[in-house]
């Protein structure tokens, strides 16, 4: 199965995603350090919170010119985020990037073993369990961030906005990963039995 196109594409996507996560991690760290050194550089970057409750996005002043006429919105610039909030956001995002990177790495290992026709090996069971553990960690991390920021509030100099949602999707991923680990464990047992049949 070394020439399987689907598996090759999947491996390629995994490599690309790993690269994206590394670059995102580096970029986040650079911005985090730069924010500490020169806060005024982020004077005109405003934080938009008009999307879904679980997301917030960063946009320039020009693109939201109509929305930002409200004087209260002048408070919500990146420069005015409190130091604690910046640290918490950095902690959350770096941990997320690391966990996603590790999960993708494990998934890539599984696909590569399938390509080598070595699907039901013991390492794949461990990989699925690791992905499950990373998903649980991801959930705990978002929960921890939710608790630490008191209902996920982004604090600015004179106020803030909050969101009250916890995503249960990582728990679903963890459940699926653990179930797959059990399926692969059964497969490993059958493979061993087959190999030990003379």
């Amino acid at each position: 199965m070394t020439k399987n196109r689907l598996l090759n594409i999947a491996i390629g996507i995994c490599k690309f995603l790993k690269l994206i996560y590394i670059l995102s991690f580096i970029l986040t760290t650079v911005i985090f350090i730069h924010i500490q050194i020169d806060r005024e550089a982020y004077n005109d970057i405003k934080i938009n919170h008009t999307g879904t409750p679980t997301t917030f996005s960063i946009g320039s002043n020009k693109s939201y010119s109509d929305k930002w006429k409200d004087p209260y919105n002048e408070v919500y610039v990146l420069e005015k985020l409190t130091t604690t909030t910046i640290y918490l956001i950095y902690f959350k995002f770096t941990c997320i990037f690391i966990l996603l990177f590790l999960s993708i790495k494990e998934f890539q290992n599984i696909i590569q073993s399938v390509k080598r026709l070595d699907t039901f090996r013991l390492n794949n069971i461990l990989s699925f369990r690791q992905i499950g553990k990373y998903s649980i960690l991801y959930f705990i991390l978002t929960l921890l961030y939710f608790i630490l920021t008191f209902n996920n509030t982004l604090y600015f100099g004179q106020g803030g906005f909050s969101q009250t949602s916890i995503s249960f999707t990582p728990l679903l991923f963890a459940l699926i990963s653990f179930i797959l680990a059990e399926i692969f464990k059964e497969g490993n047992k059958l493979q061993q039995e087959n190999e030990l049949t003379v």
Partner: protein, 73 residues
């Protein structure tokens, strides 16, 4: 496992080497070694038939049931 493989004994009686038997019955020496060491989880009837044919013996000569006793405390 309470099933004991007496292949070594039969091979010694027939003065035949493992490699020779493996060639006759058409399995690898590694698989024959698994069978001899008792690590095998199952034996195909076709393999058993080939072994019996090559060694001129009955399946009962090769396989033996030894009752397992629980360890005394």
């Amino acid at each position: 496992m309470p099933i004991v493989i007496n292949l070594d004994v039969i091979l010694a009686k027939r003065k035949m080497r493992s490699k020779e038997l493996a060639e006759i019955i058409g399995i690898t020496t590694a698989n024959l070694s698994i069978l001899k060491s008792g690590k095998a989880k199952a034996v195909r009837f076709s393999t058993l038939e080939a072994i019996c044919k090559a060694l001129e013996c009955q399946p009962a000569d090769i396989l033996e049931y030894a009752k397992e006793y629980p360890p005394s405390s």
